[in-house]
């Protein structure tokens, strides 16, 4: 299976490769948040359900929860974000990834949107 990107209603993205996913927040989320000051990362080696809160992002305006788009095991978190939260602002899909998750049920991915649907949704 090639890489695919899916989007959630709460502005997260998941880059899917085989049965793992790389999760972060979208450029649209970054625009809404404004200048990011601090990331509270989820703990590595934790199970979560789809829709669970997995970390928070603090910006000048507010605190925003990051919601996991799928159920599974978070096996790696991006420690770089502790020192450089601005990586999310600069490169949300690349260096600004937040956590990697082993997807428990691939069928959950069907409930997520592709990019066109996502753009239509937020407007």
């Amino acid at each position: 299976m090639s890489e695919k990107i899916k989007y959630s209603k709460t502005y997260e993205y998941i880059i899917i490769k085989d049965n793992t996913g790389i999760v972060g927040v979208t450029r649209e989320a970054v625009e809404k948040l404004g200048d990011i000051y601090l990331i509270d990362l989820p703990k590595a080696e934790t199970e979560c359900k789809k829709g669970d809160a997995a970390g928070t992002i603090e910006s000048v305006k507010s605190v925003s929860e990051i919601y996991s788009p799928v159920s599974g095991l978070i096996f790696e978190v991006n420690e770089n974000l502790k020192e450089k939260p601005e990586l999310i602002t600069e490169d949300c899909l690349g260096e600004g990834w937040i956590f990697k998750i082993k997807i428990a049920d691939l069928k959950e991915l069907d409930q997520l949107m592709d990019y066109e649907e996502f753009i239509k949704f937020i407007n």
């Binding site: 404004g34 200048d35 000051y37 601090l38 928070t56 603090e58 910006s59 000048v60 305006k61 605190v63």
Partner: protein, 873 residues
């Protein structure tokens, strides 16, 4: 939702619009909150605040009504002033916070929070039933309001004004201007903590045009998001967060300035509760918690030390005990600083920090460590005395926790003998530099002659000669020490020389500085006022007329200077009873005599203090003395001659001939002496006011001095001989040099303060105007070129950090032989340095070499003999 007149503008500018208290307002524009916050602190920010309520209150019952429903003393406002105030409830909490503006006689504008406007009006209507002649008119939808804040705001407005002038550079001052043909009311008020702050009121028709004009001059539009981060950093309360109906008003640190218990307020809503809170606050600030129940909590600024963000309602702990909660919190950006002291600058780098305001137990002090619970995790934080400081205009400076926790460095133990050798070398280097390589133009300074210096270090330096008149001995002085025959004679001779110099009968020479001489006079005056009744608290001086420090007055005549302990508090304004000389509209350096007469009639001062430290003109002593006599007003005229003491005579002023009662002065500025003070009067012994003179003498000892520095007193006698011998030549030359200098500087392209038709000056001083806040930099640059001057704030500037002028005096260099041609040459050098950035240090050093021989003194070889004699084995 309601919309302001500028709604379309905000949308055009790409603002994110939100509902704020029922109004559709911009939260932020394209650049975002962080950039808007930073721009306000570095350049200028423009805020649409038309959503706030504007109520007009007028009528004969306006004052009694306002005194009842607001916490501050509305009657203390003069036209052209405003005040922060609260709308209080019966239990000592607040219904709203507000600002009261007094632009026009008989009419008050009260600005209230948007979300409380209707509630406030309802409260007012309910409480106005007993006031028959009262009108409360809601003008929120007729008058618009915008706020311009930041370092460039002043210049932006100056560029736009077509007539009228900006308010005086003091917070809460107001004025009326015209921009094209549109009337704009301006107040020096704001909600950002910026020292340069303006809030503008005008007919709403003019809104869009004025908004565009101000933006076109370089201001940035700022939304409510940054408005909140700015006010939080400034420690300012937001209604609903730090203030509400339940929170005690005195919990908020600004309430001290917003609540008055003046008798002029009579009975007002919540007076009893507020009085209890205030009593409790006074105790709490001294560590006494016995009245804690009346004020259990206070609001303090807090910086979060760990990387985390505190938000509203987060709990605050100290040593695991819950002490309060966060009222407002977020992340704010701040510009980093570089440099030290006066050369502190904002850099182009910014950082973020997490700050909050918290309502905590009243016992919590600044620098206390606390913990804030952020989403189940306790993070370390510290209570700050403040987060931002605004007393160095034109910028405000963020203060971080690392700055307030700096430990004093441990003093290093060194090798004393080595330290001494280093000191000697440095002292000699400094002396060489100042005496042989620099052009010294600091107007309050003078080099004494070598003879004066030599005599100053001889015995009696190190001795005592305290003496007091004893009436039993026919009023002659009794000395408390032995070995004083010589110095007793010196003191008498010195007094004689001053009596000749001033043409007066009484002189006191024991004070060791001009400022001390002034305190002595004030103390003597208070003693004189209370001479019959010594049993009750001394009454202080009732009403003083002086020169305000921003118009060139000296510190010693200010209520925050030497006048502090001697001036009474005016019951109406609740401030020290001091009024200041009005300046001429076309020449801020000159006193407007006609306006002064009006001020005198209105306030009936009992003491007038003439004399300035930024001085270009003679003081109008005769005109005022004649006026006081005509009006039969009993008022003491004091002339603190300070700078111009050395100019007493036909070329400047003869104070006693003109009607002064008391003269004080520094003997080391234009006068040739050592650094001391002098007091003089001309009362004859049968004059009732001679008792004032006696009170002054009594204050000197044992009040002001014990040892009166006998070495410098001996030196001063030699200087007084020099002065009396050379004064005509010297004084004439000083004044003509000053005039030539000012003219030459003008011809070289520089801008001088003062009246060109009299060559700018009547004294030894010239004032060079270099532009808002450029003074410090230019004075530094001149120093690097070996020209020593003073940076000086004019009456246009907020404070010395924003100095826009350079103050120079010609007296010292005149004494070293410079003439008019030489000052012309010097002005070319100065113009080269300031206007062309030239480095002329070498030229200046060479120039000084021509002026090393002191004039207006006796043969300097005498001095060498004295020195050799003193140190001869």
């Amino acid at each position: 939702m309601l919309k302001t007149t500028l709604y379309e503008k905000h949308v055009e500018l790409g603002a994110k619009m939100v509902d704020f208290g029922g109004w559709n307002m911009p939260l932020y524009y394209k650049d975002g909150i962080v950039k808007e916050h930073l721009e306000t602190r570095k350049t200028a920010g423009l805020f649409d605040v038309s959503h706030m309520g504007r109520l007009i209150i007028k009528g004969n019952d306006a004052i009694p009504f306002l005194q009842k429903v607001l916490t501050n003393n509305a009657a203390s406002l003069q036209v052209g002033e405003s005040q922060y105030t609260l709308i209080q409830n019966e239990s000592g909490g607040s219904i709203d916070d507000a600002y009261l503006y007094y632009f026009t006689e008989g009419e008050y504008i009260l600005v209230v929070n948007a979300s409380n406007r209707e509630k406030d009006v309802e409260h007012f209507v309910k409480n106005s039933r007993s006031f028959k002649e009262l009108e409360i008119i809601d003008k929120t939808f007729d008058i618009d309001m915008i706020s311009l804040q930041g370092p460039l705001s002043k210049n932006i407005l100056l560029d736009l004004i077509s007539s009228g002038s900006l308010p005086e550079p003091l917070r809460n001052k107001l004025s009326v201007v015209y921009i094209n043909d549109n009337k704009v009311l301006i107040g020096r008020t704001g909600y950002t903590g910026e020292p340069l702050c303006y809030e503008l009121f005008f007919d709403k028709k003019y809104s869009p045009e004025l908004w565009d004009k101000i933006l076109s001059k370089g201001a940035h539009p700022i939304g409510l998001g940054a408005r909140d981060t700015l006010r939080l950093e400034a420690g300012l309360p937001l209604y609903g967060h730090e203030l509400n109906e339940d929170i005690h008003i005195f919990s908020s640190p600004l309430s001290k300035f917003a609540v008055s218990f003046s008798s002029l307020k009579g009975e007002f809503i919540g007076k009893e509760e507020l009085s209890k809170q205030f009593e409790a606050l006074k105790k709490v600030e001294k560590g006494d918690y016995s009245q804690e129940n009346d004020l259990p909590k206070i609001i303090v600024p807090i910086e979060i030390i760990e990387k985390s963000v505190a938000r509203r309602n987060d709990k605050i702990f100290k040593n695991n005990r819950l002490i309060g909660y966060v009222t407002s919190g977020t992340v704010v950006p701040y510009w980093e600083k570089e440099g030290e002291g006066i050369s502190t600058r904002l850099t182009d780098n910014y950082k973020f920090r997490s700050i909050c305001l918290g309502i905590v137990d009243a016992g919590i002090w600044e620098k206390d460590y606390v913990e804030v619970e952020v989403r189940d995790k306790k993070v370390k934080a510290i209570v700050m005395p403040y987060l931002l400081r605004s007393e160095a205009p034109p910028y405000s400076y963020a203060i971080t926790s690392s700055e307030i926790l700096i430990e004093k460095q441990k003093v290093e133990q060194g090798n004393i003998k080595d330290s001494l050798q280093i000191l000697i070398k440095k002292a000699l280097d400094n002396n060489l530099w100042r005496q042989k390589e620099c052009i010294n133009l600091i107007p309050s300074e003078m080099t004494p002659s070598k003879l004066v210096k030599a005599l100053s270090i001889s015995d009696p330096s190190g001795r005592y000669a305290e003496h007091k008149k004893v009436k039993a001995y026919s009023g002659l002085d009794v000395f408390y020490y032995q070995g004083v025959n010589f110095i007793a004679e010196v003191e008498e001779l010195l007094k004689s020389e001053f009596m000749k110099y001033f043409s007066c009968k009484n002189v006191e020479v024991r004070d060791i500085s001009g400022q001390m001489a002034n305190s002595t006079v004030f103390g003597g005056l208070v003693d004189y006022l209370n001479m019959t009744d010594k049993r009750t608290e001394s009454k202080k001086i009732e009403q003083v007329l002086n020169h305000h420090i921003i118009k060139g007055g000296h510190l010693s005549a200010q209520p925050m200077g030497a006048l502090k302990d001697f001036i009474s508090i005016n019951k109406i304004t609740e401030r020290p009873a001091v009024i200041d000389f009005p300046a001429c509209a076309d020449n801020p350096y000159k006193t407007d005599v006609e306006k002064t007469k009006e001020v005198i009639l209105r306030y009936k001062p009992t003491l007038i203090i003439f004399g300035k430290s930024m001085v270009l003109h003679k003081e109008p002593i005769k005109e005022i003395r004649d006026f006081l006599n005509d009006q039969k007003l009993d008022c003491l005229i004091m002339y603190d001659m300070a700078h111009v003491l050395g100019l007493v005579g036909q070329y400047f002023q003869e104070p006693f001939c003109e009607g002064a009662d008391i003269v004080t002065g520094s003997t080391h500025k234009t006068f040739f002496g050592t650094q001391r003070g002098v007091i003089a009067s001309d009362f004859i012994e049968t004059d009732i006011r001679y008792k004032l003179w006696e009170a002054i003498e009594n204050r000197v000892f044992p009040g002001s001095v014990s040892n009166h520095h006998l070495g410098t007193m001996l030196g001063l006698l030699a200087a007084a001989y020099e002065m009396n011998y050379f004064k005509n030549e010297y004084q004439k030359k000083v004044i003509s040099n000053a005039k030539s200098f000012a003219n030459a500087l003008t011809n070289n392209g520089l801008k001088m303060g003062g009246d060109p038709s009299i060559s700018y000056t009547e004294t030894h001083q010239v004032i060079l105007e270099v532009g808002f806040s450029k003074g410090i930099e230019i004075a530094s640059t001149l120093e690097m070129n070996n020209i020593l001057t003073n940076y000086q704030a004019t009456s246009e500037e907020e404070g010395f950090t924003a100095s826009g002028a350079i103050r120079m005096g010609v007296a010292e260099m005149t004494r070293f032989g410079m003439g008019e041609k030489d000052f012309e040459e010097l002005s070319e050098y100065i113009a080269g340095i300031i206007l062309k950035g030239k480095n002329l240090k070498k030229q200046i050093t060479d120039f000084r070499k021509r002026f090393l021989d002191m004039k207006f003194c006796f043969d300097e070889d005498n001095a060498l003999n004295v020195i050799n004699n003193l140190f001869d084995k």
